[in-house]
Symmetry: D2
Subunit: 378 residues, 4 copies
């Protein structure tokens, strides 16, 4: 450990994402040469029991039922927020006010205004922020970006993006917090933000959208098996046409009731010299087609992740062994810690979360008005 | 041949589709129990030389440079039109006026009004018509339809359709008849009509669309290598949201500059009990997911075409041997001949071509106005 | 037709392969510039009824229940044999004796001695012969051969071949002619000959084999549902190690009880500079990996058949449309007719059928003795 | 931590596998409810510098250049051996002599006699052992086993196994410890042991083998770029036919020069009622075919790993997110720790390592004699 400075983490939330973040930090500490000695200080949950259980399983030193305790804990440098969307703003602003760096799950906040407030606070306070757009933290997506930036597939002309799963397909599944309109929306806000982030990452700023939203299941039982129904007000499906500042055009779809799909986070990018096809269903592969290849033996190349695609090599020295979802979280955590050490901004900081939310918001607005809605980037 | 009545075919056009139609008839005569003895009477091309060459290679008895000769040839019962889109109407109306059955390549005609005129003429004359929506004539697409109609994938909720190729990706490729706006459009009219036909076939009538069209290459050389440019006025890409009369919603894209794609005629259909995924890139396969399968061993089934998927068995008694594109044309030809014999209507007759054209037209209109456009079906 | 010489075909056998051959000739006449005007003269079947039915459906002029009539028919230049294996020798020798060219289904004959006799007779008579190794007549297999011969994948080092289907998987399926040991064997002779032919075609002469044969179902009902059983004496599975004259080594498997497999005719060829992977399950694709590609974007290329892969372009001017099994037969027929016209030898003539049979025979011998058996090539 | 007993780990070796083991333990502690509080006590490497570096990066408390120090460390309960094969025996015996549980990388030891000695020592001492056959620790492989054991694919009839990579394909790659014949062999011992373990795991004991070994590159530079060559005496490729005690038959291939392959650890298992196809290239998928499915919609199901396939759910509550190679190591570590807690034997303990080595050894013996070699199981 030598001269390495310690960095303390306080985690809020112990569900799916709470565990994934804890794992991300833990794996990052083993595979990357972190700039800090990592200290998992304290974990907060609604119940002390839940917090204590998470403390033990996730490897934290302390547990609390009051997330505000983390703010004043002098051992804690980073507040890591994995609670429902509705709570992000309050927690993040409080953390920033206490001078903490903030790692927050996506989407950043339900409204653009809240996101703007969070960005302003973070930038004024000079803290480093990170948002959990984990699908971007994939060596194969880094490769896609590199192939685009190097010009190897030429100028991007058209794009398709999808994020579809089926966890809401069952009409008898009860109403839940995911359906609370105060969260800022449904499928688009929840999972569509991932594909918007991917398109922005790879193709650049989106200038305008024309969209529609669909509610497939208009009412759901208030609890499993109940005959009392509650109206659903948020989108099960959102589809949008997008125009990029670069001139490229495309489309995306967010869908949480695509029966049979478990992780259809896909993009297809068509350039003047080639194309790139990716599906998160096979996250260790990237398909690339080069117009410049000999016509006789030209075809989509299925590239398998290997040490030649950083940071894959941090996880395994041999190609073809594959990384998993939690490893993406480790890459995300490492990027955050490196940014803290160097005082730089991760590519998916609060400002990027804000930009993504602007597209989410514009998309919902377009769906209401059936008109193209401009997005003010920058 | 015994008591089988002879049926005579007159083919107009000897290009890609002319050859495919001739092959379709020839193969159909060998694999199906046709209701007629087939007689390939005469072939017409712009040049007598071309016609004569096609006569020899495609197996016709006569050749002519004047397509009108076919109209009055008493041996000819069917006029088969494979000329550019612009010419379909005149030829079809003339054929109908002479009491001929008409087999016409898609799209039926550049405008809805012309299509309507063609339908009215055909129906009044009582002739049988067929339009070349060949991708529907696939045992795997028949299976998809059967799985939908049987209710095995439940009520259809959402749909995606794509028809993308890359033959216009090269910006230096010269202006051609495909870009002539009088043909009724660009990528949408030319290849998008295939995916519209597929969505209608599988999901039913489309009630409205919201669309955008993109011209990617605004001007092209008037001939290969020329520095003189001609403006492109038709779409390279069209994207649309669609609503079906059934309540299902979806999207489609037509794109003839999707670098690397040679035959991305794809559809994904999500129902309440399962889903269906197809790509023409692997036309002998259909992927189906059933919610009712045991959860532990549930997954997309990759079904290979076999004799259990009619009419595959007509081509081969053993499964897994595969049919090709020209075999789809044979199925199309057989369906037409059977309809003539029974006096019934093929599913893809002029009326269906008219319905598809209504969607094409509404899509272009929507792209101009940026509003939802209703399609009057029926 | 002009100056084209007529060539007459007499077909013996009207089952699966009889129909496929007739289709092959018919399609070939439409897609290739054949050196002859094709005349489907007469078809012979065991029953006159069957022959007559085939005459009508397959487009022949005459029908007969006596195959010997074809021998003396002056209109017939080619005798096309699609009967069970046991009958090939007698029919082929008779045809050769009458100066006919002979097209014969694989395997050529049950024993090496019979094959040798057939080769000697054909070569002495100066007739042209062709054997139905149809899977080799694939533009993608031609591409594989070209990539090997050009040195693009370097020196071939190791090879795997499989031909597996499941039509004999059901133990209650009755005993049939396929199980008659006089036919020369079971799965190896019947379908394994295809993969041996493929390995010879691509990697060159096989010098020795070490093999085992397995009888999975030791007895079968004498007819469907019967309780009387008949012993099975031929292989359900044969596995072999092979050594090539070039120094390459490999293995193959023939298996007709591989549950779920319909056409697993696969090969994988590993060279010093690349590798080639093919499955007949996707016959319009070839996968190729080049060591020389940039390491970052290196991966198996999935090449789709297109006009740049002759003779695909004869079937379709546009890439990605796909050919089917009967089209392979058309390529095979064309190759035969071109060889007749030029007096050359097709790559899969009787001599090649004889060489394949030598490997089949050596493989069975090795399985009996459990020793490496040399194959005298040449 | 409560009442949980502490368990201490001493790791020997800090290379590829050393890191993977450390990660496995670390991840296991976060995702599983381990029966112990895990204590990564000390790490040994040849150099103190290497050990110290690993201590920091892998999270151990102490570092040493003398692995024997771990034996007498009272905090250490488990000796974890990730050194080259040649060293396993000495280290394991020493650990056992000190009453430590032993976790050892595969293959267990170069000779069957050494393995027997190690098993005897471990069983006499009553310590728990584990061997690193990590590819078996995959939820999809567990599912495969479950489908076999439940009888869902019927009686297994035939099997294929491959473990192929290409890390030795380059003939200019220098001689290395992997080529030292004292290690017990080449590709078969090194990577082929994985596929033998998989076949045993899924299909049961192997009773006999008939094999061949190939040296593709007969000599290699003694160091990179050197002109001095050293003969290669171990196999680059080994192929074997295998017979199982159950009556099933099959084949396997080990190949470390299969150009383009990075992780072709594949098996295909054909039963009387279905079949299972797996490739480690897509480790989160299993393909299964059921004869009992409706014939019309029957096809290989591509099953994606999800919470319904334990222990996937420990890593992620949502399906489709995927686990990676290091997660397989975590499952392996957890299994070991659970066995220690309950005093049971992991399925891949030293005895299983010994059984695998017996097959490796018999395979080499068969290749020398070209005869079937029996394997005494049990």
């Amino acid at each position: 450990m030598g001269g390495k400075r310690r960095i303390g983490v306080g985690l809020i939330g112990t569900g799916f994402m709470g565990k994934a973040h804890a794992l991300g930090f833990t794996i990052a500490a083993r595979v990357f040469d972190l700039p800090f000695e990592l200290d998992l200080v304290s974990v907060a949950d609604i119940s002390l029991d839940g917090a204590e259980k998470a403390r033990r399983s996730l490897g934290f030193r302390k547990a609390t039922a009051d997330w505000r305790e983390l703010l004043t804990d002098p051992d804690i440098d980073i507040i890591d927020i994995t609670t429902p969307n509705l709570l992000h703003r309050e927690m993040a602003l409080a953390a920033i006010a206490h001078g903490k760096h903030v790692y927050c799950e996506k989407p950043l906040a339900p409204t653009v205004a809240e996101c703007a407030e969070m960005v302003a606070a973070a930038e004024k306070a000079g803290v480093v922020t990170q948002v959990g757009f984990n699908y971007l933290k994939n060596p194969m997506v880094f490769l896609a970006k590199e192939l685009i930036e190097s010009g190897e597939i030429g100028e991007i002309r058209s794009v398709r993006g999808i994020h579809a799963e089926d966890f809401m397909m069952d009409a008898s599944a009860p109403w839940s917090w995911r359906l609370d309109p105060r969260s800022g929306g449904g499928a688009l806000a929840d999972i569509g933000s991932h594909i918007i982030a991917a398109l922005r990452h790879l193709v650049g700023p989106i200038s305008s959208v024309l969209a529609e939203t669909i509610i497939q299941v208009p009412a759901r039982p208030i609890s499993r098996g109940s005959s009392e129904m509650r109206a659903v007000e948020v989108d099960d499906i959102t589809r949008a046409f997008v125009r990029f500042e670069s001139g490229a055009t495309g489309s995306f779809e967010a869908n949480w009731s695509a029966t049979g799909r478990k992780m259809q986070h896909d993009f297809e990018i068509y350039g003047t010299k080639g194309s790139i096809v990716f599906t998160q269903e096979r996250l260790n592969e990237l398909k690339v087609w080069f117009a410049g290849d000999d016509i006789r033996s030209r075809g989509y190349r299925t590239i398998w992740a290997g040490p030649e695609h950083p940071p894959y090599g941090a996880f395994c020295v041999a190609p073809g062994h594959q990384i998993g979802f939690n490893d993406l979280k480790a890459i995300e955590a490492n990027e955050f810690l490196q940014a803290i050490a160097t005082g730089s901004r991760p590519g998916t900081d609060f400002r990027e979360g804000f930009e993504v939310q602007k597209v989410v918001s514009a998309t919902y607005q377009s769906a209401k008005t059936n008109t193209w809605v401009q997005i003010g980037n920058g």
